[in-house]
């Protein structure tokens, strides 16, 4: 079993990344072109059929992978890069100071990603970047919380006292002892957040606050398929499967990475 979740996750994410890479240069049909053949069942030449506008579903799915990777990876990585140091600082600063970032992040936590995105869209106009920023900012508190809780746990460990006693400063302790020890938590949070980011992107696209109509996303495809759920249910199946597999892939990857990164788990099993 060891390492299998890592490889399964890497395989699924690799597939999404490969699809996105191919879609940069080639898709079977123009993913945004409307054709005469509407709601066609899977067959030839439309392997996965066509949607209500006559666009090729496979092409749209491939093009959607680009947006998913862009929005998911950028927003989650951005949120982690901001949230983790803030969380560590919140735990390590003297109580009165540490409360400030912790409470600010709680306030941010109160705003759903969608509401933040509407604020951003009003200011910047709906685009893929608006979605990245909105989802990224809305994801920060999750990382602040997990990093703060993890750091408080690590700080109560004797090895931190031992490091302090050896004369190590707080920055060195954060970098060398806290970060490696909370890394497994952060990885798991990142994989969970990635799934949420894909779903949020879907919601934002539906509201017209994410990527524009010319860039197909899995979320937009899902919402469009909703109108034809009773006549052509298979339309919802493809983007649904894509979201499920990408999310699963990141969760498996997160689990696998945690096992590999944690020396205590490395040689068990």
């Amino acid at each position: 079993m060891r390492g299998s979740s890592l490889w399964a996750g890497a395989f699924l994410i690799g597939l999404v990344a490969l699809t996105a890479g191919v879609a940069l240069f080639w898709t079977p049909f123009d993913p945004t072109a409307n054709g005469p053949l509407r709601l066609a069942p899977p067959g030839w030449p439309h392997l996965l059929g066509t949607d209500a506008f006559g666009s090729d579903v496979l092409s749209r799915l491939m093009a959607g992978a680009k947006v998913v990777l862009l929005v998911g990876v950028l927003s989650v990585v951005g949120a982690a890069v901001v949230g983790v140091p803030v969380g560590i600082a919140a735990a390590m600063l003297p109580r009165a100071w540490g409360e400030i970032p912790a409470r600010l992040s709680d306030i941010l936590y109160g705003f759903p990603a969608l509401l933040l995105a509407i604020l951003f869209a009003a200011a910047l106009g709906g685009s893929t970047w608006t979605a990245v920023m909105a989802i990224g900012i809305a994801t920060i508190p999750a990382f602040v919380r997990i990093a703060r809780a993890g750091t408080l746990e690590v700080l109560s460990q004797p090895y931190v006292e031992a490091a302090q006693l050896a004369g190590l400063g707080p920055l060195a302790i954060a970098r060398r002892h806290v970060l490696p020890n909370i890394a497994p938590l952060v990885w798991v949070q990142a994989s969970v957040s990635f799934g949420i980011a894909i779903l949020s992107e879907a919601g934002l696209s539906y509201l017209g606050l994410g990527s524009g109509p010319d860039s197909p996303t899995w979320g937009r495809m899902l919402r469009e398929a909703q109108d034809h759920l009773f006549s052509t249910p298979i339309l919802a199946l493809w983007p649904g499967l894509a979201v499920a597999f990408a999310t699963l892939g990141f969760n498996l990857l997160g689990d696998g990475l945690r096992d590999v990164l944690d020396p205590r788990l490395r040689e068990r099993a």
Binding site: P94, R95, Q157, P158, Y159, E161, A162, A163, Q164, L165, A166, G167, L168, G169, A172, R176, H177, P180, N181, A183, D262, P263, R264
Partner: protein, 252 residues
């Protein structure tokens, strides 16, 4: 003047008095055992000296190390001191080593700090060999969970004495070890602590007698008895000490 002088030390957590007007002194190369049950204040006393109490603790009185007052010292000043004059050996060698870091790297970390201050060059292997580790290279490349309890405690002792501190606080240094390893580690401590001052905190009278001549007995944050360890064992004056001696009778 003694190397460590504790005077009228009181530590409060809110309304709870954990250490109540405690005073003692340790000479340059002296050793003092602090005996007491859980909650007697012995650990809080040692943490107060090391400056590791939480923010909620209120410390009053005086702790002088090599003439320098430690009560009210800033964190930054404490850090300098810990690197050079003061170190500590902990009870649980598994949790006192970072589980995600190879033992050699943790020791190298402390060596790097030491070199910055003293300019002397030390190697991880030599420091591990100093504490009686036979294959220092393999131990240095291991993670803590790959080592035995005795090896872990030796590694921690190596870390504690890299800076050649004037005072080493040993907080239950052998409690987590089995009896045979306990003997070896006590022997090692006896050896590496010969030219420095040491505090031995333990609930175990038998262990403290192995390394200390002079002891104080604490109960409810107060010193209830002090003196030569054999005298205390032979004629305990305080009722609590008598119980302690009776309980330890089998192992003495």
């Amino acid at each position: 003047m003694s190397f460590l002088e504790v005077d009228d030390l009181t530590v409060r957590f809110g309304d709870t008095v954990a250490v109540d007007h405690v005073g003692f002194a340790v000479e340059d190369t002296g050793r003092l055992g602090i005996i007491g049950a859980s909650g007697s204040g012995k650990s809080v006393t040692s943490l107060a000296i090391a400056g590791l109490l939480s923010e909620t603790a209120r410390v009053t009185g005086s702790i002088r190390l090599d003439g320098q007052e430690l009560v009210g010292l800033r964190e930054r000043e404490y850090r300098e001191l810990r690197g050079s004059k003061l170190s500590m050996i902990f009870q649980e060698p598994m949790t006192a080593l970072d589980p995600t870091m190879r033992v050699g790297r943790q020791i190298a970390e402390v060596i790097a700090l030491h070199e910055r201050r003293s300019g002397k060059r030390l190697t991880v292997e030599a420091e591990l060999a100093r504490v009686g580790i036979r294959d220092p290279q393999r131990v240095g490349e291991s993670f803590p969970h790959q080592l035995s309890g005795g090896q872990r405690q030796r590694a921690l002792i190596a870390m504690a004495i890299i800076n050649r501190p004037g005072l080493v606080i040993c907080d239950e240094p052998t409690t987590a070890l089995d009896v045979l390893v306990q003997k070896q580690i006590l022997g090692l401590l006896d050896e590496v602590l010969t030219d420095r001052a040491a505090l031995f905190v333990s609930h175990d009278l038998a262990v403290v007698r192995e390394v200390c001549r002079h002891i104080i007995v604490m109960e409810h944050g107060r010193i209830v008895e002090q003196g030569d360890v054999d005298d205390v064992i032979a004629t305990p004056e305080h009722e609590y000490t008598a119980r302690l001696v009776a309980a330890a009778r089998g192992t003495l």
